[in-house]
């Protein structure tokens, strides 16, 4: 679904408000190959401080699931860049899996990541995604065994998301060796594009991962932190950060 190597950037929808998110998406679009849009959730248990706070800001601003779909539709008036919705399962389950996926597709989303929906629980979800031609992305972690990695690869129609470390999302100083070990293993086993995320925050990280063979690199918290700091006025510092990250793709 993307040209390689890809820079995949994440922000939380509605942080600090829905209108600003559209502006941010248009800025991300200039430097990104894929945009991941987070649906804010009250209990983001896989996320570190930066994205937790973004979720709180978005929900305080009154962001609804409907608003996130609208955002994607508005973004589609300007750009064809793939948009991946990142969500926890409860907002999907509560709306009804079929209704959620159908609405997301109708409004222009290309794929979905459901953080707390492992394969074992994903039967209905996978059927619905196939029916509506919604791309699926499953996560794999450094402790995911080979046979499971194979199943994850099969279930992921868009790309496989490799988690670079043991822990939650959040910027880190250095990349863990675990990231490279997993990438090496996944390259051997998987057939789908491989994106690496969690803890990736600098051009240097992007470069190292692309050199090691990653098809895509996901940056979230480092971008979300800038929005946390500057709020609606984040465009300029965002642009600066994105330029830096983008430079990591060239070597």
């Amino acid at each position: 679904m993307f040209r390689k190597p890809a820079l995949i950037t994440f922000i939380t929808a509605g942080d600090p408000n829905v209108k600003a998110t559209l502006d941010f998406m248009l800025t991300l679009d200039k430097y990104s190959d894929v945009i991941e849009l987070g649906i804010p959730f009250s209990d983001p248990m896989a996320d570190g401080k930066a994205i937790q706070k973004a979720n709180v800001r978005a929900l305080k601003a009154g962001t609804r699931v409907r608003d996130v779909f609208n955002l994607v539709r508005e973004f589609r008036e300007y750009s064809d860049t793939p948009v991946v919705l990142m969500t926890y399962y409860n907002p999907v389950y509560r709306r009804g899996v079929e209704r959620f996926v159908a609405e997301a597709k109708e409004n222009g989303a290309n794929a979905m990541i459901v953080v707390d929906l492992p394969l074992e629980e994903a039967g209905e979800y996978l059927n619905v995604c196939e029916k509506y031609d919604m791309g699926t992305v499953f996560l794999a972690a450094p402790n995911t065994p080979d046979d499971r990695l194979r199943m994850i690869d099969e279930a992921s129609s868009a790309f496989v998301y490799l988690i670079s470390l043991y822990g939650t999302t959040g910027a880190r100083e250095k990349l863990s060796q675990l990231a490279f070990d997993l990438l090496k293993r996944a390259k051997r086993i998987c057939s789908k594009p491989l994106a690496v995320g969690f803890g990736v925050s600098k051009a240097e990280h992007v470069r190292e991962l692309v050199k090691a063979g990653a098809d895509g690199v996901v940056v979230g918290s480092a971008i979300v932190d800038i929005i946390g700091k500057y709020g609606e006025d984040a465009i300029d510092p965002l642009e600066e950060k994105l330029k830096e990250l983008r430079s990591g793709l060239i070597f």
Partner: protein, 392 residues
């Protein structure tokens, strides 16, 4: 393993291997004679099992209806049923070679019980507790520290129990190699709801033996309070096949279901997925989890264990809700008539039991799970009663 459609393992991928490891270890140990006798040893000689099944004669006479029996889990070491589970899981963790326990706690009871188990078995303990609860429950925080545990205040979200669980899960995804997450109720991803139920079922097994000894008959009704639902499942479970026994779970109606300030997820919630399980949750149309209220901190949770969701759906158990005020009245009533101060959580069960016992005949039997003692609640009760002095 699921309870009908409820339960499951809705967790980030990284937790799948540690959950499988836990399930495997638990399945191997649960029927292991050495493990069973070790657990039994500590439950008897350290925790104080079996607990009495006490006939509340004064209360029964005053109400003039069914015979009321109290399962005295309040007499256990630590003052509540939580220790049945923490000793079990701490022993399991030790066998698995994990030297660090993490736990979530609301009021601090499960945190204290985990700290006790950690001290007993020589394991490091860190307890996540909502910053607001740390403030409200200073004595329990101090108690945990005295027992050698570290208490980590959680400032995210609503700063209460559900956020403490989120934070413990965040810890666990980074530390599972040497850490066991000791969940305190029949909630969370599989195998926790089953495992915690098994450890708590000792309550129901004893109750069954005792009531048959005393009355030569099974009880007509068993009543227990339900937050996450561990004490209720513990006493219900051995009676599930005994169809003549009505099982009633009592949730917290807080200031009244209609006010929205409650934590009655089975009575007023919707199906959803949180903390690794499909169950009933208090939430809005978008699936955002609601903030809850109960005077009893141990009931103040927006979800409920998946087996309760199943027992409700299948009709085997009934679920009702009791307000803060009704629980307070029951607290005072039991103190005066029987000389027993119940935990505010258990007072919910008691309040409902008193209500139905009145309407039942004198040869019928109601068992109430008195899951904990009320000393921890004296501050809250004092404050509530001073606001309405007439109740004393």
């Amino acid at each position: 393993m699921k309870f009908g459609e409820f339960g499951g393992q809705f967790v980030p991928e990284v937790l799948i291997p540690p959950l499988k490891e836990l399930e495997k270890a638990y399945n191997e140990l649960k029927d292991d004679e050495e493990f069973k006798s070790e657990l039994d040893y500590y439950l008897r000689n350290y925790a104080g099992r079996p607990t009495p099944l006490y006939f509340a004669k004064n209360l029964t006479e005053k109400l003039g209806g069914a015979k009321i029996y109290l399962k005295r889990e309040d007499l256990l070491h630590s003052g509540a049923h939580k220790i049945n589970n923490t000793i079990g899981q701490a022993l399991l963790a030790k066998k698995m070679g994990k030297n660090r326990l993490i736990a979530e706690t609301g009021a601090g009871q499960h945190g204290v019980a985990t700290a006790i188990a950690g001290a007993l078995l020589g394991l490091k303990v860190e307890v996540y507790m909502g910053a607001e609860d740390v403030e409200r429950q200073k004595m329990n925080v101090f108690r945990m520290k005295l027992l050698g545990a570290e208490v980590i205040p959680v400032h995210s979200g609503s700063k209460t129990l559900k956020d403490a669980i989120n934070e413990a899960l965040r810890d666990w995804v980074a530390t599972f190699e040497y850490t066991h997450y000791l969940i305190g109720s029949v909630v969370g991803p599989h195998p926790y709801p089953t495992m915690v139920r098994d450890f708590q079922s000792v309550i129901g097994r004893e109750t069954k033996r005792q009531i048959l000894e005393i009355e030569g008959a099974l009880p007509d009704v068993i009543v227990a309070c339900v937050g996450g639902g561990s004490n209720a499942i513990g006493i219900f479970h051995p009676f599930i096949e005994d169809r003549s026994v009505r099982l009633i779970g009592v949730e917290a109606a807080g200031k009244g279901i209609e006010t929205g300030k409650h934590s009655a997820s089975l009575c007023a919630g919707e199906k959803g997925v949180l903390h690794g399980m499909l169950s009933y949750f208090l939430q809005d149309e978008d699936g955002q989890i609601a903030t809850t209220h109960s005077i009893a901190a141990g009931l103040d949770y927006p979800g409920v264990g998946p087996e309760h969701a199943w027992l409700k759906e299948s009709g085997r158990a009934e679920y009702v809700a009791v307000t803060d005020d009704q629980a307070l009245k029951a607290f005072v009533e039991l103190s005066k008539t029987e000389g027993i101060l119940p935990a505010l959580e258990s007072a919910h069960a008691l309040a409902y039991a008193m209500e139905i016992a009145k309407e039942m005949s004198k040869d019928e039997i109601v068992v109430v799970n008195l899951s904990g003692r009320g000393d921890k609640d004296l501050g809250i009760v004092m404050e509530a009663l001073t606001c309405s002095a007439s109740r004393l």
